[in-house]
Symmetry: C2
């Protein structure tokens, strides 16, 4: 498992804020300008820019400035490493319960 990964740190950290997850969900329905996003989430432009910057650093949002408007799009990162990490955690948890079950089964056998 990739343990020491700055990318995983940045990815999970970007996702740990409900406003940022909301921005990603909004961009899933179509591109939006920083101004649109600020209005939708009832934030100042400065506050929204900070969130978008964190998402951009994590590779979850791409921005492009044309004239005076900066448009935000979803991607390019697909959160593959994050998805793999969580899947591995779930496997470890299952394995832990399987070991516990096997232990209890053996203990039951000893009692009879």
């Amino acid at each position: 498992m990739v343990q020491f990964s700055a990318q995983l740190d940045a990815g999970f950290s970007a996702l740990s804020d409900r406003t940022r997850r909301g921005i990603l969900e909004r961009l899933g329905r179509g591109d939006a300008s920083i101004t649109d996003l600020a209005a939708k989430f009832d934030m100042t432009l400065t506050g929204m820019k900070k969130h978008v910057h964190i998402l951009e650093d994590a590779g979850l949002v791409t921005t492009e400035k044309v004239g005076r408007v900066r448009t935000c799009k979803l991607g390019p990162r697909r959160l593959e490493d994050e998805s793999t990490w969580i899947a591995k955690y779930r496997e470890m948890l299952e394995a832990r319960y399987d070991r516990l079950e096997a232990f209890l089964e053996r203990t039951k056998g000893d009692e009879s």
Copy 2:
């Protein structure tokens, strides 16, 4: 999609630190005391207790104190909501690329 979820905030935030992910990976191989974990990660007991507390609050680690030893186990949360959220993000990204491809396809048609 569950957008306003304190549980998702706590889950993703707990996973955003490589030491905490390392602790979970270590616990996947078997239970460990706070002292064991502090030694393995070359940290003070106080520092390790803070990390374990964050993991415990997020439901990713359970601790039990017997005598003077506090043992840490993986679980009980299975990170289902986090997994679902990431899967939805990936679907949104795919859909975005599909729409882009369809648009480019139409544009190509216009040119010919």
